[in-house]
């Protein structure tokens, strides 16, 4: 146990965690040249395509320093705010963290929030100044920021580059010398903390754990404390590039267990594994349940595919326990599911995975946050779908969720950032200078105003020099109204949204304009109206189909025209008729693209 080191890599998004992990794996010869590819641990197709980490990834390395052999368990974590729960789980399995800071960008919002997560768990922090190879690196300035932030000594910061390999041996030495070995009682009753679980279609559900006390052997009879379920440990092992079975996983080490678990729900990340025969009575403190932030309806484009969609959602949930869903129905779209997501990126990813992995074509409706409505009778109703809002005559008041947001930017952008937040009904609660020209602004904002396009707008107004982190603080009463959309007089429930009264006119106008752009011309004119209750507040129309006197068909070039028309036809696949109007998928997301 003295020679085990458990550490994770944390940072703001894109500061180079996964690339540095590649180098560590390479310098410890955990991977051979043959396996090498960039961001090796990002093994999901989506991660590779988007170049971001979505899921934490644990892997074990062996390393010899000054004649002594060590086992290093590394966990690479995602930087995107939607997935910060992945970071907290990983941290719980570690005694140390590499805090990576991009030398050209300096400290950003998730650098700070992830650092605090690590400090809460008393992790030893090793600051790494990464991307030193970049011409835009500002080592001295960023070192100042780091010293200021964590109160370390300047010399403790390791200059490095995941590209060139600079500093990699220094990092390995620091891990051995500075990260404490895990503590625990090897002879104690078994307590192993489950920090992650994955689903493999061949092997079923696999739980990842860290042994805090005692040890776990193959064929042991084990019990999961929170669920109370008992299993045989069919296989235990360590996490190398592939899973490697072992007879025993000892105190302080990280490993995996396969035990014939059928349902993803049986494994609660944060649960404690113990022995059936010699159980520990206490569980290790687990994690807060991950709460979805954004809700949206997911409907099959083809109404016959509802059951297939249900099946696919269940399968998806096996390896992403953070999605929640329940059936709902919409007058416009038929049967589908109301789904909860961690954020917009998460929602996009789920939609993409449904399409790719399950070949489902789906429509996603306008996303919203979760509101609380109080009726005149005094009941509290959770409103995850605008159409669940009680009628005005039964409604006492509505509460909406608020967040505390931290925005780090350059001082020259303070003005625009302030006006953006104020426009979003935000209230500033703190402003502090991190260095002479870098400011951290703290706002209280309604969550409904920031989950959609806020970050994009923030980046635009600050020319990319702003980062953003938030957490939910609670609910507050708010003057919200339901804005409905009608097409040729028919209300389309899937296009309704809840919105603050002060913004409703402006919003109604913009959404009508956007829909006019997105709904293709049809054989008749389409009238688009926005209304609050019976009152129409905005109107637009889509002219009937263009009389398109067909263009010259050049000589024998029949292919070109055919391809053009075939493509038009393909675009139709994602349309859904509501009444007699065909609405493309993009229209349901129109609210997200208002500016």
């Amino acid at each position: 146990m003295k020679h085990i080191r458990n550490f994770c890599i944390i940072a703001h998004i894109d500061h180079g965690k996964s690339t540095l992990a590649d180098r560590l794996l390479e310098y410890t010869q955990t991977i051979s040249k043959r396996d090498e590819k960039a961001q090796l641990l990002d093994d999901m197709d989506l991660e590779r395509e988007r170049g971001i980490t979505i899921k934490s990834h644990a892997i074990q390395m062996n390393y010899e320093l000054d004649g002594q052999k060590y086992v290093l368990n590394l966990i690479d974590t995602p930087g995107h705010v939607d997935f910060s729960y992945e970071v907290s789980r990983s941290i719980a399995a570690c005694e140390g963290a590499l805090l990576i800071v991009d030398a050209s960008q300096g400290i950003q919002a998730q650098t700070i929030s992830n650092l605090y997560l690590a400090l809460e768990q008393d992790l030893e922090i090793i600051p790494v100044l990464n991307k030193m190879d970049l011409p835009g690196a500002m080592p001295e300035e960023v070192k100042d920021q780091i010293v200021e932030l964590i109160g370390c000594k300047r010399e403790e910061i390791i200059p490095a580059s995941g590209k060139s390999g600079m500093g990699v041996f220094d990092i390995l030495r620091a891990i051995v010398e500075r990260v404490p070995a895990p503590e625990g009682d090897p002879r104690g009753e078994l307590q192993a903390l489950i920090f992650d679980s994955v689903f493999n279609s061949f092997r079923g559900i696999i739980a990842y754990f860290k042994v805090v006390n005692g040890e776990i052997r193959k064929n042991d009879k084990v019990k999961f404390i929170a669920t109370g379920k008992e299993y045989g440990a069919d296989e235990v092992g360590i996490l190398k590039l592939n899973q490697e079975p072992r007879d025993v996983i000892k105190t302080g080490d990280v490993g995996y267990i396969i035990s014939g678990i059928k349902e993803a729900r049986e494994v609660k990340v944060g649960d404690t594994i113990t022995h059936v025969d010699r159980p520990s009575t206490t569980a290790i403190q687990g994690f807060e349940e991950v709460k979805p932030m954004v809700f949206a309806g997911i409907y099959p484009v083809d109404t016959d595919e509802f059951e297939e969609l249900r099946e696919s959602m269940h399968k998806l949930q096996l390896n992403d326990a953070s999605i929640v869903f329940e059936p709902e129905s919409s007058a416009a779209l038929g049967f589908g599911f109301r789904c909860g997501f961690l954020g917009m990126l998460h929602m996009e990813i789920i939609q993409e995975r449904l399409e790719r992995e399950f070949d489902m074509t789906v429509i996603t409706t306008v996303p919203n946050v979760s509101y609380k409505a109080y009726t005149t009778k005094g009941d509290e109703i959770i409103v995850n779908n605008p159409s669940d809002l009680p009628d005005p005559n039964k409604l006492e008041f509505v509460e909406e969720p608020f967040i505390k947001a931290s925005i780090i930017t350059k001082s020259e952008f303070v003005g625009p950032v302030m006006s953006l937040c104020i426009q979003k009904r935000g209230v500033i609660i703190n402003q502090s200078y991190l260095t002479a020209d870098r400011v951290e602004l703290t706002f209280e904002l309604p969550m409904g105003e920031i989950v959609f396009d806020f970050y994009d707008r923030l980046k635009t107004i600050s020319k990319g020099y702003a980062s953003f982190d938030y957490h939910q603080t609670g609910y507050k009463q708010s003057d919200l109204v339901r804005l409905d959309i009608r097409l040729n007089g028919e209300p389309v429930d899937a296009l309704s949204s809840l919105i603050h009264r002060s913004n409703s006119y402006e919003f109604g106008k913009k959404i009508c304009e956007k829909l006019r752009e997105l709904i293709p011309r049809q054989q008749f004119e389409i009238i688009i109206q926005a209304s609050i209750g019976a009152k129409i507040i905005a109107r637009e129309s889509v002219r009937a189909l263009r009389k398109d006197v067909t263009a010259k068909c050049y000589g024998g070039d029949i292919s070109r025209k055919r391809k053009l028309l075939e493509k038009q036809k393909k675009g139709k696949k994602r349309m859904r008729s509501v009444g007699n109007v065909e609405i493309p998928q993009s229209a349901f997301m129109a609210v997200l693209k208002l500016d």
Binding site: Q523, L545, R546, K547, D548, V549, T550, A551, K552, C553, Y554, G555, G556, D557, I558, S559, K561, R562, L565, E566, Q568, K569, K572
Partner: protein
């Protein structure tokens, strides 16, 4: 039965709306003509010995060539292919090239059909389009070709551009009819990407085309030409009895054709292919004996869609019995179901298993075609 298309990639000047492949420099004309003749020889088996019923000299502007140069090309075809003695041989000609000597010289070749690029009889329209010819040259050319004894003539007219008033449009049609021209191809002005016209419009120098104006002038076109005895046999083409273009009809009927020259397209029943649209690349590749082409093998659905798209534009319309026989009844059933909405709103008339566009439907031909295409 088969056709041959020859692309002559040269023009005097560039019309502002045009996105065909051509060069305005004639410096390597001789080299290009050599390459074209060489390609004809290289591809002598493409048509698998089918009799050549039509030859079409297009471009670009083939009337820039001397009669002798045209004869060399036609002879090369004759030496490599079985050309029917009654073959239709068309040349695209611009009025400014059709001086008396050139028309006389053409009389001595095998060319027996003219396609003359009139576009408009109004000087301001021709200047706006940046055409090479004047209004006077347009009229003179028609007269000269008729006087020389050619009877198979078609002219191109363009409508639907902002400065073409309804009166001018009617005048253009009547003048053409007045000359006794037996075939008219009329095109709505289309703004093709990467043309000068497109860039004028994006920069706000020119007004965009107006679809209602085009629709009105198209309707006027149908009325005027039909009352003058023309058959509206394809959406953009009108002919007096017996004067339809055989070459173009073959394109729309799925007859194989061999396309020679840069950017030319060919079709052999199974695949379509097209030569590189670049004169230098074309010539250097042909010099090495290689055809610089891209090829597309047609899937069943591609072939059905091509049939639907071209048949819909013709007076005969779509024949679902043909679709059943050639591709299977499941397809014809799918298409019939998709067609129902258009028989319902009177854009299409159904008679037996034949579906033809109504005048109103012709305004939405592209939309309808894409709606009924199969996957």
């Amino acid at each position: 039965m088969a056709g041959i298309y020859i692309h002559i990639p040269f023009c005097k000047k560039a019309c502002h709306y045009c996105d065909f492949h051509f060069s305005t420099s004639l410096t390597y004309k001789a080299g290009m003509l050599d390459a074209i003749r060489k390609e004809i020889v290289l591809r002598k088996s493409y048509l698998r010995g089918e009799a050549v019923e039509t030859i079409y000299l297009g471009g670009g502007t083939p009337s820039l060539l001397y009669a002798g140069e045209l004869t060399q090309i036609i002879d090369t075809i004759g030496n490599t292919h079985t050309v029917s003695p009654t073959a239709e041989i068309t040349i695209e000609a611009n009025p400014d090239d059709l001086d008396p000597a050139r028309v006389r010289a053409l009389r001595a070749t095998d060319v027996n059909r003219f396609s003359i690029g009139i576009q408009s009889f109004f000087e301001e329209d021709l200047r706006w389009m940046n055409r090479a010819h004047t209004a006077q040259e347009g009229e003179d050319a028609l007269k000269r070709v008729l006087d020389a004894g050619f009877t198979n003539i078609t002219t191109d007219l363009i409508y639907g551009f902002p400065q073409l008033s309804p009166e001018k449009w009617t005048a253009n049609m009547e003048k053409t009819i007045g000359f006794g021209i037996p075939h008219i191809s009329a095109y709505a002005m289309t703004v093709e990407p990467k043309t000068p016209l497109a860039s004028f419009i994006t920069r706000g120098k020119e007004a965009p085309m107006n679809d209602l104006q085009s629709a009105r002038q198209f309707t006027e076109l149908m009325n005027v030409l039909r009352s003058a005895g023309f058959e509206h046999y394809e959406i953009s083409n009108f002919a007096l009895p017996g004067k339809r273009s055989k070459h173009n009809s073959n394109y729309w009927n799925g007859v194989p054709y061999l396309g020679i020259g840069p950017s030319a397209h060919s079709y052999n029943g199974d695949s379509r292919q097209w030569n590189v649209a670049n004169n230098a690349k074309y010539m250097s590749s042909i010099a090495e004996g290689a055809i610089p082409r891209e090829i597309e093998v047609l899937t069943v659905s591609n072939r059905i869609n091509e049939y639907l798209m071209t048949a819909l534009r013709k007076i005969e319309g779509i024949d679902l019995d043909h679709v059943s026989a050639a591709f299977g009844t499941p397809y014809s059933r799918l298409i019939e179901a998709d067609l129902r909405q258009f028989t319902g709103n009177n854009w299409i008339i159904k008679s037996g298993m034949r579906f033809t566009l109504t005048d109103e439907g012709k305004l939405f031909a592209d939309h309808i075609a894409s709606e009924i295409m199969v996957e």
